[in-house]
């Protein structure tokens, strides 16, 4: 296996998130009715960081939820081995809220499709916007992100991983060829 190449380091990730936080505020003209929902698991850590940044800028707490998309996957019953089901935790109604859906890597976008179906079961949001740290291309559905940390054109045989302090002990985005 070829050693992974670091395409974004801790400072790069932090600056990208800071920019996204400001872009979210700019696009929505403030924080009114905004909620952040992280897609389990990588998106949850990023959503929490974005919520902290936005709260610090606006001096106001932002509600945050967690969505697990397992039950909404389109390939679930194709496999004998089921993914471990995580908890969804959206302790508020999404009616008329501006929902910022947060994920780490945008790839086939099938995860986002599943997440949107899940969100709509929690009410009728006024708008759903999508924030991702890395957009690596290869969309399979007509869905695109509103806020992107880094565009990272990649080939299908490469793996892009977002490592975060919360789960991997270190902030970095790594691209490597799969063996």
């Amino acid at each position: 296996m070829i050693k992974g190449k670091v395409v974004m380091d801790a400072d790069g990730i932090d600056r990208a998130l800071t920019r996204i936080a400001y872009e979210i505020l700019e696009k929505n003209r403030g924080v009114e009715n905004i909620v952040l929902v992280g897609i389990r698991t990588g998106g949850v850590f990023l959503a929490r960081r974005l919520a902290d940044k936005i709260s610090a800028i606006e001096k106001q707490d932002i509600p945050m939820g967690i969505v697990d998309i397992t039950l909404y996957r389109d390939d679930l019953l194709k496999k004998k081995k089921k993914p471990l089901l995580g908890k969804t935790d959206i302790p508020f109604s999404l009616d008329d809220r501006k929902v910022i859906l947060v994920d780490d890597v945008l790839f086939t976008v099938r995860t986002v499709r599943a997440a949107m179906d899940a969100l709509i079961d929690f009410g009728r949001p006024k708008v759903i916007q999508l924030a991702v740290l890395v957009d690596r291309g290869h969309r399979e559905l007509p869905i695109r992100a509103d806020f992107v940390g880094k565009n990272l054109p990649s080939s299908l045989w490469e793996a892009v991983s977002v490592n975060l302090t919360e789960n991997k002990g270190k902030d970095e985005v790594v691209i490597e060829e799969e063996t």
Binding site: D68, L71, Y72, L76, L77, K78, K79, K80, K81, K82, L84, L85, G86, K87, T88, D89, S93, D117, A118, D121, F122, G123
Partner: protein, 307 residues
């Protein structure tokens, strides 16, 4: 991690890892039942048949709700309205149901071993919803989920199971499950209701309720099953209640934060006093709520996938 068998027949067959997988999955499913829209699309297009040859309110409804909340189609068959009354054998009934291509068959039957027999006969997943005096694995799993939620663990807890141990599939499944998960289980009941050799399952046997209840973290009361007793096992319900009813007096000696459980339906004033069943330590209705999550977890883990 996945389940090793296509069927859920008893707690005896499940490994510690499988039990943990089921409980973890059930824990995640709890949330679905608290939503305004209590439905996820996971098992769309799957068919679950509930084949009940014995009366049931909780278990049958719970399986039906679990299937529906996962978007599966649930079909209920009860013995009184089935061709069993015309003399069709269980095997023929099962083959005919199989011919309609369901995905999962849930069965309750008064004969111990009926689900095992069907599991070998049809290609569908079989879930045992109670067979005779043998096993009732989904009850044990929901009991274990309840214990874990309230106590944070199962290992190291002292569980007292009291009543008609001999006829109780709930007791048997719980004994297998709880001892596997590291709890210490004590049983108590009249000698005539204590199966021979029960000690071999790793439980401690008492005949006086007080001794079993002492220092217990969990007290699980069993229903007196009049329908399974062909001879009178005790002179009267009143006498039974004198010795084995859980009331304020007999509860003394248990830990202060002991949980009171019962698989239902309860015979008020026979095995449990009303003020205890409805009291603050009782988790009887939490058990029912958790039953839906456990059954959703099992349907989810068993359904679909090419082998």
């Amino acid at each position: 991690m996945r389940l090793s068998s296509k069927d859920i027949l008893g707690m005896k067959d499940l490994s510690v890892g499988e039990i943990e997988l089921i409980l973890e999955t059930a824990e995640s499913f709890m949330e679905v039942s608290t939503r305004d829209i209590k439905k996820v699309p996971t098992l769309r297009g799957k068919t679950v048949i509930n084949l009940f040859f014995e009366p049931s309110t909780r278990t049958r409804t719970s399986f039906e709700i679990a299937a529906k909340r996962l978007s599966a189609d649930a079909v209920n068959i009860s013995s009184s309205t089935s061709s069993a009354v015309k003399g069709e054998t269980l095997i023929d009934t099962a083959r005919n149901l199989e011919a309609m291509n369901p995905d999962i068959i849930v069965i309750r039957h008064s004969c111990s071993g009926a689900p095992q027999m069907l599991a070998g006969l049809v290609k569908q997943s079989i879930i045992n919803a109670g067979d005779g005096a043998h096993e009732h694995p989904t009850q044990a799993l929901l009991d274990m989920l309840t214990i874990r939620q309230k106590k944070g663990r199962i290992a190291g807890l002292k569980v007292a199971i009291i009543g008609d141990i001999a006829h109780s599939r709930v007791a048997r499944s719980n004994i297998y499950g709880l001892t596997k998960m590291g709890a210490s289980v004590t049983v108590a009941g009249p000698s005539i209701m204590m199966p021979r050799g029960i000690e071999e399952t790793g439980v401690t046997v008492h005949h006086h309720m007080k001794e079993a209840v002492r220092h217990a973290d969990i007290i699980m009361m069993l229903r007196i099953q009049l329908e399974r007793q062909d001879v009178n096992m005790f002179p009267s319900l009143r006498e039974y209640a004198n010795y084995y009813c859980l009331n304020r007096e007999s509860l003394k000696g248990a830990k202060e934060d002991a949980l009171i459980m019962h698989p239902g339906p309860i015979n008020r004033g026979v095995e449990i006093a009303p003020d205890i069943a409805d009291g603050p330590s009782s988790v009887i209705l939490d058990q029912v709520t958790n039953g839906v999550a456990v059954r959703m977890a099992l349907l989810y883990l068993l359904a679909g996938g090419e082998s």
